[in-house]
């Protein structure tokens, strides 16, 4: 297993729309806009090796390496981004930015509204996946990246990938939507709404106006996260991970304290989430996902990708993902095929549910690195100056079996 890291990284900030406001799909606007981002690796001479990574609902710009000099503060997709990993930072310039409306440095409800000098709270305008992507496009302009070699992401990250491919196709050479959908389904909207209702029901939410209060709507946010966690697992993974095992108990207590391991897991993760995420951001980001529907305005998904036929797609779904079931990806693949795009698709066998996109590292690495190798070969993408390929690893699976066979023969 590859263990290389990009090392200590620092989140950076780009501010735009200071003079002219950034107009949103809703008709509202924001000024100024800050986008938090991290980059790993270096651009090549003709700036053709840039890859944009898009994060999911609760993610941040911190995708790889670690921050604050603390090796425990690891990026959310560090398994796949780094030297010699799937997104090889020695060959590619990898960018990840925090979405608009989130709470990890990009402008969102917890930031100060320049008009009032107080946090925006619910005065922050509702943003869409399209708005998030246009903010990313501004960041790319700032970084001097005109065309992306690849754009990749899972879940809500996958929605951004598809938004880029459909609405900014000229800036995209290849797109990797993972465990995602082109149209947020009624079931997904239902789960979003349960999460939001849990937050509204918390008295400390106070119509979103809690930033100067001693208590925050932590109970509501924790319930929202617990519902989320259930949807990220599968029934099978719950059986495997928790079963009906009891937490620190031998037998039932016949009371309402936490008894089962699964209860303890959900409570722990709910609580942990309140320490790192903002309840209002949860409302805004889930709302953005609910509005996502690439079949509009024509009603035909294929029509939305009519100008995207030059893009090479790698779509991936997971057999046990019931939140974004495989048929969402299959519909997408059908539409892309009908439009005439080049699509590679695999429904990966996995028991991990929606979480599989971060957990099936070996399969994802196989798919992503082979796909990127192909792009590099077909589009003759140069490595950054001074890049020297490392010698092949002695411990990769192929040579390992060969060595084992050799050892057997000799013994």
């Amino acid at each position: 297993m590859v263990t290389d890291s990009v090392g200590n990284v620092e989140t950076q900030f780009y501010t735009f729309a200071e003079d002219e406001p950034f107009c949103l799909e809703s008709g509202a606007s924001i000024s100024p806009v800050v986008v938090a981002y991290e980059t790993y690796g270096r651009l090549n001479a003709d700036r053709s090796n840039a890859i944009l990574i898009c994060h999911a609902l609760s993610g941040s710009a911190h995708a790889a390496g670690y921050v604050d000099g603390d090796p425990d503060k690891v990026g959310w997709w560090d398994d796949c981004i780094g030297p010699e990993k799937a997104f090889d930072t020695e060959r590619f310039f990898v960018i990840c930015s925090n979405v608009l409306g989130s709470c990890y440095g990009s402008t969102g409800p917890l930031n100060l509204d320049p008009l009032t000098g107080k946090p925006y709270a619910l005065h922050f305008p509702v943003v869409t996946i399209g708005d998030m992507v246009r903010a990313q496009a501004k960041l790319l302009d700032h970084l001097g990246v005109d065309t992306l070699l690849c754009i990749a992401g899972g879940s809500m990250g996958g929605m951004q990938v598809l938004e880029w491919a459909a609405h900014h196709p000229k800036r995209v050479r290849s797109a990797v939507p993972i465990a995602t959908t082109a149209q947020h389904s009624p079931m997904l909207i239902a789960f979003s709404e349960v999460g939001r209702q849990a937050i509204y029901a918390d008295p400390f939410w106070n119509q979103g106006d809690y930033y100067d209060q001693p208590r925050k709507p932590d109970a509501g946010l924790a319930v929202a996260r617990m519902v989320g966690h259930i949807t990220y697992l599968s029934e099978e993974s719950m059986h495997l991970k928790f079963g009906r095992r009891l937490q620190d108990m031998e037998k039932y207590g016949y009371e309402f304290q936490t008894e089962f391991e699964i209860e303890s897991y959900l409570k722990y993760n709910g609580l942990k989430f309140t320490r790192r995420f903002d309840a209002n951001s949860y409302l805004y980001v889930t709302k953005a996902m609910d509005y996502f529907d690439l079949t509009q305005p024509t009603g035909s998904l294929a029509a939305s990708f009519a100008a995207s036929t030059h893009i090479k797609f790698l779509a991936v779904s997971f057999t046990s993902d019931w939140l974004y079931p495989s048929y969402h990806s299959k519909k997408l693949v059908s539409a892309l095929t009908a439009a005439g795009a080049d699509v590679t698709y695999l429904d990966v066998r996995s028991t991990w549910g929606h979480d599989a996109f971060l957990l099936e590292v070996a399969t994802m690495t196989h798919l992503l690195s082979s796909f990127l190798d192909r792009l590099v070969r077909e589009d003759a993408i140069a490595a950054p100056d001074g890049y020297t390929p490392r010698p092949p690893r002695a411990n990769d699976s192929g040579s390992k079996t060969q060595l084992a066979k050799l050892a057997e023969t000799l013994a």
């Binding site: 790698l314 590679t344 698709y345 695999l346 990966v348 798919l367 796909f371 070969r377 699976s397």
Partner: protein, 210 residues
């Protein structure tokens, strides 16, 4: 962790299985090719590298798709029925179906779909009309196993044996014309004269709408 098959890009793509080689020889350089049930992508890789075709594949197994992706091919996971339906008419010059006809539930539908999305099709299949198959049934009383498809009658997926003559009649019935015909006997090309059905173990045909 998933164990990946050893499918490094073929160092010598010229080393193709003889029936695949017979198919490859029929495809012109630079054409658009769809390979149905492309397996580990050996044929498609050969066509992309040696004949510079624009190649696409459809494959049902995860292992096959992973192997194809490792070879740098564009492949969709799916079954043939679903897979074909998405392509617009005449999207390809050639649609290839190698050694798969024998497993299909509805061969007429698949062949007609192949000739909708492709201008021409290539099929290869094992011939149970070969003299050894006939003798085996006559003398042992058992259903013969084709030399290039060593599978018993009960193995999954189930297969439905047929002969060169069966296939030719079937094509006439469903309005499909057989053009070029290549016959192999245990991997070697053979001149069969009028005894195509008797002397070939494998047939490779190009098809078009009659």
């Amino acid at each position: 962790m998933t164990a990946f098959p050893n499918t490094r890009p073929n160092a010598h793509p010229t080393h193709l299985r003889p029936d695949l080689r017979a198919i490859a020889d029929l495809v012109e350089s630079g054409t658009r090719v769809l390979d149905l049930g492309c397996g580990d992508g050996a044929l498609l890789e050969y066509l992309v590298k040696e004949k510079k075709v624009k190649g696409r594949g459809i494959e049902i197994s995860e292992q096959g798709v992973l192997a194809c992706v490792r070879r740098g091919l564009s492949v969709r996971q799916g079954n043939l029925q679903e897979g074909l339906a998405d392509y617009p008419d005449a999207s390809f010059d050639w649609v290839i179906l190698s050694q798969t006809l024998v497993f299909l539930n509805d061969p007429a539908m698949v062949l007609q779909e192949m000739l909708r999305v492709g201008r021409q099709a290539i099929v290869s299949f094992s011939n149970w009309g070969h003299w050894r198959c006939r003798l085996e049934l006559l003398f042992s009383g058992r259903i013969p196993v084709a030399s290039d498809l060593p599978q018993q009658w009960f193995e999954v997926p189930r297969r439905q044996p047929f002969t060169v003559t069966d296939f030719a009649r079937f094509c006439t019935q469903i309005g499909i014309q057989i053009d070029q015909q290549t016959y192999l006997d245990s991997g070697r090309r053979v001149r069969t004269g009028p005894f195509k059905n008797l002397l070939s173990t494998t047939a490779v045909f190009t098809l078009r709408k009659a």
